[in-house]
């Protein structure tokens, strides 16, 4: 704890921690010293000079924003001289300033002019000079406009970009009164700016303003501002949506609330267009003679109920399955899985988690007992070492990445293991670039090095690892053959680098692991994660604060959907379905006969498609998923879906999957829902209704209940989301203490076992979540992957996400701002390969694998290794998954999206 000190400002005594910012303390206590360049999220600048005060014992005036308080400090913040000076400074500033104001933004400067009675030009002393300097306007960015004539040169945008987002895109150019802000070399649209808009949010005037929807805004006519959770990635940023005339016109980050403390990425800030897109589904549609026709809800729901019942009668309970959704709320998913289990009477419920982190989760569950991230998002800033494996975190979890960049600025060491260059490399101490699919060998090599240099944590092995030294010996024996030389031979990573990485990871006081799709989406996905966990355990880099393993989750609610039971093997709260006692407990809460709950593990996503192909699944209920883009080996999925008797798709848009539906049901988007999401650091966050649903679209959970009712198998009929959540809490021990009331002003991290529990920021501090509380080593050997290149298919294709689009792009591509940054598919190829194959940048190429082909545009880039290709998979016109395999990881059933042999031909 810091020392408390007492200071006096204008005779008022205040107590605060020693070293806190004087201006902030004053503001917190209602002493409103004016300021413009200061912002509590930024380091002090001392540029506007408005906050000058007098401090006893100091000569002259001092900018209070630059002062750290000390015991006994006596401050004069307001007297006639200071107020005269402030007025004079503002008067100066307005002489340099173009006052045109289109009422689309908050203007802190104008507010101060009012306060100092300077709105009226007659009260001003200094001639206006701004016109002399030909201040330019930079309109080149797709998302914002900068008008230098309105800029008060406060540095807040630059610091927002540097200190908050860690991007360094902005600077001043020139100097003195001619200086102004530039992006890149002076053209914002050609700079590294990725459109997060942090600068817009922190600009005190209208110098930087957003482009999308701004002309529609009148800041005085905003009807309401609603706080909710961003619908894109698994960070779960808290956003505030502005509504004017029932239209969403602006999104800003909510300051002071975790996980993002006001920060957003481009998707969170500008990705809200889709909500009120004209393409939204507004009415149920029934396929008649191959065409979709509008229908009433009664028609649609009755048909569905009849068909589902028909399938059950004809083919039995196991002939139906459901895809639940990582985009939907916990409440929706909970009702969905309950529906599958109690109405379909099986456990065939799964969703896209199978396609991303199932392997990670499987490995984590088996070795440490929990599949969720062990740490909190802010630990990404404060840990000493961060190992990032197969994780393009800057693009896929941009806000988590802001914490990392801030950490690097204060000395954190980042080690990257990734075959592909990612932007994080710029911030990294070491980048190990193993050949695709050789991670196990690399990690075993690192483990061996750690053992040989005695960097293991002996006490940890003795006390925290299952079977202690015995288990360790097994690992030691297995990894012994991975000598630095062999490891280098297999992986291509220079042995010195490998050893240095291992040492840094093991030696740092605290090390965290952020593991991503690059590790998990392989046939050896589970083994990859096993090996990294092995390394973590023998180093004891878990079970303490700022250490552990964190798989940042892709979708906004991947974490939550599994938490609340959208899983073929677990009830809500990871309670295995196989156990009879569990079934009894759940049946009791749900009010259904215990015998009606199936004990048979359900089918996973890809297995459902296979079963459909084999004629075992006849009807499918899809809520908010788009398997026709996300599934591997799409040609196979297509054939499988065509064989189904009856398909219901419930979504907010037509997708690549809706054509296979017999009935399409229009659902509510996140902005029309109340509910909760769980983000990557296990924070249960509120989702709030901002606007009404379009047309006759309905809430997902209401639709499900209605179908159950019409199937004559009614479920508990809820009338609001809060009640649903209370039932979730009653079934799910780790959320038992959470309720809407408690998360009204900020999320709570599970486990939160009771109403007085504050939530848990770090997992496993006391023990692992395994039956005996100990971590389990799972030694695994490197196995060369089946997918190999050949003469015919000489390239290995890697696929992944980019910042500007999201997942299957159903939502993201309905936003002009995002499309302006990236709206076209491409494939990256190393310059040497391009030269060898006589291919030039920008040409159209065809990628062909044994399973399918696609067309795209070639980009030559050093971001990939020779012999390897990389393609974003968001673009449905060039479906990467036409090329991928559906051979599965035997442990987790994940598909190997990351590795497909293919060839490239000129189109």
């Amino acid at each position: 704890m810091s020392e408390l000190v007492t200071i006096t400002i204008d005779g008022k005594q205040l107590t605060a921690e020693k070293g806190t910012n004087l201006l902030q303390i004053a503001k917190n206590n209602g002493i409103n010293i004016p300021s413009l360049c200061y912002h509590k999220k930024l380091s002090p600048t001392g540029a506007c000079r408005l906050c000058l005060v007098k401090i006893d014992g100091t000569n002259g005036l001092t900018a209070s924003c630059t002062v750290q308080i000390k015991e006994g400090m006596n401050v004069i913040a307001f007297d006639e001289e200071l107020e005269t000076i402030r007025k004079y400074l503002l008067d100066y500033l307005v002489s340099e300033h173009n006052e045109a104001n289109d009422e689309t933004y908050n203007d802190e400067f104008k507010d101060l002019l009012k306060r100092y009675d300077l709105i009226n030009t007659e009260n001003r002393k200094f001639p206006s000079v701004w016109k002399l300097f030909n201040y330019p306007t930079d309109d080149s960015s797709p998302v914002l406009t900068y008008d230098a004539s309105k800029c008060i040169k406060c540095f807040r945008c630059i610091k927002a970009c540097n200190e908050v987002q860690g991007k360094n895109v902005l600077s001043f150019t020139d100097r003195g009164i001619s200086s102004y802000i530039i992006g890149g070399f002076g053209v914002w649209g050609e700079s590294e700016c990725d459109g997060c808009g942090e600068c817009i949010q922190l600009c005190p005037t209208g110098a930087i303003v957003e482009k999308p929807h701004r002309t529609e805004i009148n800041i005085n006519k905003i009807d309401r501002k609603v706080k909710t959770t961003c619908p894109y990635c698994g960070v779960g940023c808290q956003i505030e949506l502005f509504v004017q005339d029932e239209k969403i016109v602006r999104s800003i980050g909510v300051d002071g609330l975790m996980p993002n403390d006001g920060r957003l990425c481009i998707k969170g800030r500008f990705g809200y267009d889709f909500i009120q897109s004209k393409e939204r589904l507004t009415s149920p549609l029934i396929k008649k003679n191959g065409r979709f026709e509008e229908a009433t809800w009664d028609e649609a729901l009755d048909l569905i109920a009849f068909k589902f019942n028909e399938v059950i009668e004809k083919h039995g309970n196991d002939a139906l399955a459901g895809y639940s959704s990582a985009k939907c709320t916990n409440e929706d998913n909970y009702i969905f899985q309950k529906f599958i289990r109690t109405v379909f009477g099986n456990n065939n419920v799964d969703y896209c988690t199978r396609l991303c982190h199932a392997s990670t989760v499987t490995a984590m569950l088996r070795s440490i007992g929990d599949g969720a991230g062990s740490n909190s998002i802010e630990d990404f800033e404060t840990t000493d070492c961060l190992l990032v494996t197969g994780n393009n975190i800057i693009e896929t979890h941009p806000i988590t990445a802001t914490y990392i960049k801030r950490g690097v600025a204060r000395g954190m060491q980042v080690i990257i293991i990734d075959p592909k260059w990612t932007p994080l490399v710029k911030y990294a101490k070491l980048w190990l670039q193993p050949r695709l699919g050789t991670d196990v060998a690399l990690l075993n090599g690192m483990i061996r090095h750690i053992i040989h240099t005695d960097l293991i944590n002996k006490q940890f092995i003795e006390t925290k690892i299952d079977r202690g030294w015995e288990a360790f010996e097994e690992l030691k024996i297995l990894t012994e053959k991975y000598t630095p030389e062999l490891t280098e031979e297999i992986t291509g990573v220079p042995k010195d680098k490998m050893m240095e990485a291992a040492s840094i990871y093991a030696k740092s006081p605290t090390s965290m692991i952020a593991t991503g799709m690059g590790m998990s989406q392989q046939v050896t996905g589970t083994n990859n994660v096993f090996s990294i966990i092995n390394m973590m355990l023998i180093c004891g880099q878990i079970a303490k604060e700022r250490a552990g393993i964190d798989p940042p989750r892709g979708q906004n609610n991947v974490q939550g959907a599994t938490d609340v039971g959208a899983s073929p093997i677990n009830y809500p709260g990871y309670i295995p379905i196989g156990n009879e006692e569990n079934r009894r407990k759940v049946a009791n809460i749900w009010g259904v006969p215990f015998e009606s709950l199936s004990s048979k593990p359900g089918l996973t996503t890809v297995e459902i498609a296979k079963a459909a192909y084999d004629g075992k699944i006849k009807a499918l209920y899809i809520m908010g998923e788009n398997p026709m883009v996300t599934d591997p080996n799409l040609n196979h999925t297509k054939n499988a879906f065509e064989k189904l008797d009856f398909v219901v798709v419930q979504d907010i848009f037509h997708t690549e999957t809706t054509p296979y539906a017999d009935v399409i049901l229009p659902a509510a988007s996140f902005a029309e829902k109340n509910g909760t999401f769980v983000n990557s650091d296990r924070r249960v966050l509120r989702v709030r209704k901002v606007v009404e649903t379009p047309g006759s679209a309905r809430q997902d959970w209401q639709i499900i209940q209605e179908i159950a009712k019409r199937m004559k198998k009614p479920m508990t009929s809820f009338t609001n989301e809060s009640d649903i959540f209370d039932e979730i809490a009653s079934v799910t021990p780790m959320m038992a203490g959470i309720s809407y009331n408690r998360i009204e002003n900020g999320g709570i991290q599970w486990p939160c076992p009771d109403k007085s529990h504050p939530g848990t920021s770090t997992l496993f501090i006391e023990k692992f979540n395994t039956p005996n509380g100990k971590g389990k080593l799972n030694p695994v050997d490197y196995v060369a992957q089946n997918e190999k290149t050949s003469k015919e298919y000489p390239f290995l294709l890697n696929s992944g996400r980019i910042l500007f689009q999201y997942h299957s792009a159903t939502l993201s591509r309905k936003n002009d701002a995002l499309n302006a940054f990236a709206n076209e598919s491409y494939v990256l190829m190393h310059p040497n390969d391009a030269q060898k194959n006589k291919l030039t940048n920008g040409i159209k190429v065809k990628l062909i694998s044994p399973r399918g082909e696609l067309e795209t545009t070639l980009k030559i880039s050093e971001e990939v290794l020779e012999g390897e290709l990389f393609m974003p998979w968001h673009f449905s016109e060039s479906l990467v998954n036409n090329l991928t395999r559906d051979e599965l990881d035997p442990h987790s059933k994940i598909a190997p999206f990351k590795l497909s042999a293919c060839k490239v031909v000129i189109n």
Binding site: N168, R175, I182, G183, G184, E192
Partner: protein, 151 residues
């Protein structure tokens, strides 16, 4: 010298930026910093484009526009100004037929002004590239320029 060679002489540390900019500018036959070169520097030093550009635009000795073979830096600081550098300026503009911050069409001369060059005496001073000139008057100026034209 090629930019790559110059970069190779320096450790990739940000504090080397200003020296690198000087060397690359000096090595360029038009004595300026083309954007392509700045991009190479940015990559090498792992800096953003704006932090490079912000620096080049802050310091008056750097230029991102092509300049002549000879850069004339006429001192306009208070002493030289008092001693008549304004008259020298007029003369220079007249013989070179250009204004300040312009380059003669033959690519030979760029006329710039400078703050105090530490050459203060009782007559104005200037520099042309690395050479210093003191004791200037209108006649001498003409001789100096002619000499350089014939060099």
């Amino acid at each position: 010298m090629m930019t790559e060679e110059i970069l190779a002489k320096y450790k990739p540390q940000k504090d080397n930026l200003i020296q690198i900019l000087h060397e690359i500018q000096d090595a360029h036959h038009q004595q300026y910093l083309p954007e392509e070169e700045l991009i190479k520097i940015a990559k090498y030093l792992n800096m953003s484009m704006s932090s490079i550009y912000g620096v080049t635009s802050y310091y008056t000795m750097f230029s991102t526009k092509p300049r002549g073979k000879y850069i004339i830096r006429l001192c306009e600081s208070p002493i030289c100004d008092m001693l008549g550098s304004d008259k020298i300026a007029i003369k220079l503009k007249e013989i070179l037929k250009i204004n300040f911050n312009e380059t003669t069409s033959d690519g030979l001369f760029t006329l710039e002004s400078s703050e105090c060059l530490g050459l203060c005496g009782n007559k104005p001073s200037m520099m042309i590239n690395q050479r210093t000139y003191t004791g200037l008057n209108e006649d001498i100026i003409e001789l100096i320029i002619n000499d350089l034209r014939n060099e």
